[in-house]
């Protein structure tokens, strides 16, 4: 049996996926911190995934890399951008015309897919990381609240707040103002997730079916509810949302001859 590997070297996390010919839904996954060496992170993620699948590098027919560090994975046989891979991975889980919204560590993407899964148009956020995973991390530090508790607090909010700044640093300043004014941590946390969604919806028009991918969707499913409320769309989160790009890369590897 042939196996294919996809490695998504993102700004914060590196994800690896190993896929057999059967395209099994519960494919093997591995996640490592990207750190300061893209190459090492890619190798670690791949090796961890291989170990879990009880395979060796020789068992892998082809490997494709994607993400910011895609050029650094020298062991890969090919590479694709994260746009192509998120499109492929998302369509694999949700084979319908839709908009893929990927909220990553440092950037957001909107990808419009045709009924055949082809990329019809895509948008990336501009240079600032406001509304991305890094933004949530920064605000969590500012609030001195563990990332894992943000969603739980937000779920108990009794007021809607949105941070309006395009800039992560200025958003943090808005948070300080809210704290000074005595706003509850629950409402501020909800405001942070509202801001994440606002930064996405102002990027471009979304249709009635959205596939939400990336680490933020995986860690904070509340974002899907807020996005659905804001757009009226049905929002679908793939089971392993953070691995969508790596899955797409593995699928590209399998499709490439």
């Amino acid at each position: 049996m042939a196996f294919y590997c996809g490695v998504d070297i993102g700004s914060t996390w590196t994800k690896a996926v190993i896929l057999g010919e059967e395209n099994e839904p519960d494919y093997t996954r591995a996640l490592v911190r990207t750190g300061i060496s893209f190459e090492s992170a890619a190798l670690s993620a791949r090796d961890e995934a291989l170990a879990r699948a009880k395979l060796t590098p020789d068992d892998i027919e082809r490997t494709f890399s994607t993400g910011y560090g895609r050029m650094n994975a020298e062991f890969a046989d090919g590479r694709r951008t994260e746009i192509a891979c998120h499109a492929k991975g998302a369509f694999h889980s949700f084979p319908h015309p839709c908009h893929v919204v990927d909220i990553g560590g440092q950037d957001n993407k909107i990808i419009q897919l045709s009924e055949k899964g082809a990329v019809e148009h895509f948008l990336m956020n501009r240079k600032c990381a406001a509304g991305t995973g890094s933004f949530i991390e920064e605000i969590s530090r500012r609030l001195d609240i563990d990332m894992k508790r943000l969603e739980e607090l937000a779920e108990n909010a009794n007021k809607e707040i949105t941070l309006s700044s395009f800039c992560t640093v200025f958003s943090a300043t808005e948070v300080i103002k809210l704290i000074r004014e005595g706003e509850s941590p629950e409402n501020i946390c909800k405001g942070v997730f509202n801001a994440v969604v606002a930064r996405v919806t102002e990027m471009g028009t979304l249709g009635d079916k959205i596939v939400l991918t990336g680490g933020v969707a995986a860690a904070f499913p509340i974002v899907a509810d807020i996005l659905s409320n804001a757009t009226g769309a049905t929002v679908f989160i793939p089971e392993h949302a953070q691995f969508t790009g790596a899955l797409g890369a593995a699928l590209e590897a399998a499709a490439s001859n």
Partner: protein
Amino acid sequence: MPKLESLKKMKELVAGHFTGLDAAAKDPSRKVAWCTSVGPVELLRTFGFEVYFPENHGAVLGASRKANDYIPRANAAGYSPDICSYLTADVGAFLAGETPLSHGYGLKSVPTPDILVYNTNQCRDVEDWFAFYARHFDIPLVGINSPVQVGDVTDELVKTLVPQYEELLPVFEAVSGVKFDIDRLREVMADSAETSRLWGEVLGTMAHRPSPMTFFDTSVHMAPAVILRGLPEASDYYRMLLKELATLTEGNVSAVNKERFRIYWDGMPVWGKLRELSTFFNEMDAALVVSTYCNSWVFEAFDPSNPFESMARAFLELFIARSDKAKEGIMAELCEKFSVDGVIYHDAKTCPNNSNTRYGLPQRLRTLTGLPFTIVYGDLNDLRCFSEEQAKTSIEAFLEQIEGGRA
């Protein structure tokens, strides 16, 4: 792409341009004018002015990656990081008393002007830019205040502009000490018209598949069309270049390794990243075969028999000065003529007038032509506004999108 002999010639011409300006600035009997690139150069040449183009200096600062050394200096002097980075790089370099022309051509400084002449058809920044020098040198600042968002360039509109050109004549006479001679103007206009026609022909060779040049080549080859407009040397240069290009197109020589994608580049070059982007597009098998920017120096209206009106018309027809509706029409025609697969828009942070991304034009052009587009966020000179990795990902994904659409 093989190295063209013409490039050697161009280097000589550009060197001659700068050393000639330097000599003129040091000679009290000769006069130097600074002019915007789409200003009334033809009139200035009629009076014997040597003409220097600060925008060209801005591009040299960008291409030599010196711009970011100087922009902060202008910012500190009150010129915002949000305004034209040609202006801020140029003014910053002036405040620092430095110029890349020293290293390149042995000039101690930029040539001191006797008069400053602008045309706001490009933007208001050019007037503010030149006003800085008018205050510094205490010399006349004159120009054309042009309408913007021009739809149809009608005879009536052209006629309203002509008096502005005529009003420049006594000022030019006073500064140059030369009396206006319409026959001399007709000669200069004839040279400009010929240069313009030939430059258009040069750009037209890129309609050939594969294209013998890309936008990165034409961003260099355009120099004579800008800085030597109105001089016979410019036309001679393009005749030489055209001969070489004919050999390339006959031999089906491709500018990129393997032309798989033909792309329209809209907006300014990222001057400090020309080499990196050129290499990147080459690796991606993508040829940038047409651009709004390089096409801007094709002035079809120039007519020596009717110099004032044709000048006014040509400068009103300038792409940057046109309404979005007119721009959409022009771009759609070029997309078809050059058989492009898609459009890449450069949204230049400090050049809103040359960034056609901010009022929905890309979306409308996509509806009109069916061609996909993407936007690269950057700047002409201020590399603080450009994320190379993000731009490359965007471009690569765009090419993947085009490829996917063919499957």
